[in-house]
Amino acid sequence: MSQTLLDALALLGSFDHRLLEIVGLSLRVSLSALTIGTLLGLPLGAWLAVARFPGRGGLIVLLNALMGLPSVVVGVLVYLLLSRSGPLGSYGLLFSPAAMIVAQSLLVVPLIAAVSRQIVEDAWKDYAPEFSLIGIGRMQAVVLLLTDCRFSLTVATLAGLGRAMSEVGAVMIVGGNIDGYTRVMTTAIALETSKGDLALSIALGLVLMSLILGLNVAAYSVRCWASRRYG
């Protein structure tokens, strides 16, 4: 066990090419999915927070339920969409990083939208009377509330990033875990562990945990700074 750990640390210390390649692709895929998830999820959540229409309650329940969507189900859905016989098969995206980004985006959008909906709705309850008297329209309110809640909303984006980076089922199905092309940290850990190469698995696990911890430390620091700076 201690030898395996030493091997893992040696891999990290030597900046192993294979390891760096896997980490780089993981970051590229997850951050792309997070960007898409943030661009779609935040406005969607904020709009749901301020909009009033028949069926809104049902939509919120659905969105909340989608937070727990099993990643393998998303993987199968995206697989069916992108497979040769599927409606988007002609684009040839299956077993590519693009397919993995699509799958992770589908997992991240509902999560970010649901969390941001709750955060913005809480703020909206306080602001609604003032906005109403001033004559602020719904779309203007969405922009103002997203700006006002920007530091709280880092929680929503962090949750999205956590979901994207730790996900394994969907990217395994739509990416195929092809060495040097679609192999990311989570799929590599699963594969290398089953092969018995625990050193690489542990090294990747350490990188994954360090990344997530580092991002959370950064987000926490930003929130503390913002609280002092903006109240």
Binding site: D126, Y127, P129, E130, S132, L133, I134, G135, I136, G137, Q140, L144, T147, D148, R150, F151, R229, Y230, G231
Partner: protein, 239 residues
């Protein structure tokens, strides 16, 4: 838009009548102060006038119209300030109006100067003191150039100097032609600011008099008890 005529106004959350057939006529000039014990519906009256709540009965007529023909603004007891600069907290309130960006900026700077916050335009509004926050909220309302300004206990929990600053701004807004309708628990403030007093108790207007007359010779037993500092729940139960 004036006179503002309220007839038989009722508001009964969960069947309990907070406003119970309130009748009132308000002119378009001066400062009217709404007084009354806690829970008699002072804030509620302002919120109903602002259209933030639907009444359960009665009518509100703005001159001959059913809705205000000119702009009204309201400053809340705890004003909501965006986590943005002092400047933006005023400027954003002008965005729905058909003003050029230059005009919005000019008007924002002007009101901030007049409320004594010109030196803090770039600071974050949430970091202001209580008095500064209330002055900022007044500046926001003032910048909108309202014909009617509703103020809900604008100096609650402010110290005397902050209260004085807020009262000076309220007088200036009145001088510029806006009608001010405000609630307060501060009888000294009511004496200093009010042209007329609207005294509420038991969900109705018990008395509507000039301030001078109200404080010198209150007509209703409830108003007399209130001015003598009797406990509000006794007023509510005894009358």
């Amino acid at each position: 838009m004036f006179p503002l005529r309220i007839t038989g106004l009722r508001f009964q959350p969960n069947g309990r009548a907070v406003l119970d057939g309130l009748d009132l006529e308000v002119s378009g000039e001066g400062i009217s102060v709404v007084l009354g014990p806690n829970g008699t519906g002072k804030t509620l009256l302002l919120r109903l006038l602002a259209g933030l709540l639907p009444a359960d009965g009665g009518t509100i007529r703005w001159g001959e119209a059913a809705s205000p023909s000119e702009r009204l603004a309201m400053v809340f007891q705890q004003p909501m300030l965006l986590r943005m600069s002092v400047f933006t907290n005023v400027e954003f309130a002008l965005r729905p109006q058909a003003l050029t960006s230059a005009e919005r900026h000019r008007r924002t700077n002007e009101v901030l100067e007049r409320v004594g916050l010109a030196h803090r335009t770039g600071d974050c509004a949430r970091l202001l003191s209580g008095g500064e926050r209330q002055r900022l909220a007044l500046a926001r309302a003032w910048a909108m150039r309202p014909r009617l300004l509703l103020l809900d206990e604008p100096t609650a929990s402010l110290d005397p100097s902050a209260t004085e600053a807020v009262e000076r701004i309220i007088r200036e807004i009145r001088t510029e032609g806006a009608k001010v309708l405000m609630t307060t628990h501060n009888l000294g403030q009511a004496t200093r600011l009010a042209d007329d007093i609207i005294f509420l108790a038991n969900g109705r207007v018990q008395e509507h008099e000039s301030a001078q007359r109200f404080f010198a010779r209150p007509q209703s037993p409830a108003a007399r008890a209130f001015l003598q500092g009797e406990l509000p729940w006794r007023i509510a139960f005894d009358h």
